[in-house]
């Protein structure tokens, strides 16, 4: 994938490569709703348009989630740029989420 420059002007926070993520949720369940909101907030603040996020509802696609090694939801997988990382839970722990996404404050 061709790296894309972030539109963010906050140079210290800017991420040059597009961050590709996949979030596995149980749509409508409380922690999943929180996880989506928390991730969206982080993306808006740090990544602007420099990210791709796919949300997979495990209630609709359990086998796909299992094939991807997902055991519990919410589960966020950062696929690229490397290193790949994952976070489970409702993503309210900002520091571990930023760490997994490779964002340095």
């Amino acid at each position: 994938m061709r790296p894309k420059k972030s539109k963010s002007r906050a140079s210290s926070r800017a991420v040059t490569a597009v961050v590709v993520m996949r979030l596995y949720i149980a749509d409508g369940a409380p922690n999943s709703v929180k996880a989506v909101a928390n991730l969206e907030a982080i993306c808006k603040e740090y990544l602007k348009d420099g990210f791709e996020l796919e949300i997979v509802d495990v209630l609709d696609f359990p086998r796909r989630a299992l094939a991807d090694g997902v055991l519990v939801t919410p589960h966020l997988a950062k696929l690229s740029p490397s290193p790949a990382a994952m976070v489970v839970g409702n993503l309210s722990d900002r520091r571990s989420l930023l760490g997994a996404l490779g964002i340095h404050e």
Binding site: A26, N31, V58, L66, L71, V72, S92
Partner: protein, 309 residues
Amino acid sequence: MNATLPSRVHAGGGVVIERVANGRILRLVKSGPARQALESGEIDAVLDAATGTAFLLPEARRALSPAGGPIANSLLAALPREDYQSLLGELEPVTLTSRDVLYEPGERISHVYFPNDGQVSLLKVMADRKTLEVGLVGHEGMVGVPLIQGVEVSPVRAVVQGSGSALRMDAVRFREALGRCLPLRYELSRYAYAKLCQARQLAACTRFHHVEARLAFRLLMAHDSVRADEFRLTHESLAEMLGMRRVGITNAATALQRRKLIGYRRGKIRILDRKGLKAAACECYQVVGKLARVPLLISARARAVRPRA
């Protein structure tokens, strides 16, 4: 699709999740972020590699249930909303398949069932294996009444007669729920009384009423339970319920068909003229219908004195 978390889930990768009686996760046999998140209540669903299914944890199930929509089972619908909400985490949706036996006589009652639709027939089984229906449970009721009175063993065979769905609750949790939820206890006391009266009515009906009238009564009850004009009910099942030979049922059904009250094709009965069928039925249909609506003064009082959280 989502389902209730079984007592043991093999989530793959050597991870085993076990559940304790109160629905909380006991342990995740592996350390790591999943375990941490699970322990801090940040998990909604667990994936089971063995069945390829996602299991919702109780909190998530409660949130995803259509609590804002109509509640299909009348007993549950009669509860104050917060009591209903508190039970939801322990209620597990199940499919009722025609001819499934929920309990045999003398068997331990493992679960109670609150049908949403479909119907469950309670059959008294005699030593020579002849049967007679002594109760019928549809969306207005619950299967597993002995547990309300503290009896763990079923005196009857409970068999599904029309496919549908139900919410079921483990017997241990049901007893706990009865202990803490006063409105549930009173609703079920009222229901147990109505069931007792229904059984008395059925006893008299079997002795005094003509088979055609009894069949019309039974078909109206089925019509009410399944909430559909057409439902599957074979002559064999009807013979089991009404304690008759199949030929007797066939004759009575043919008579009702000739009067254009019902249609019958390949085991499916269609109600063509409900008003006419009511006229053909014995008085028991009206009596049993009134029983289901009998109010208990205690029920209103229970709600009035209920401590507010």
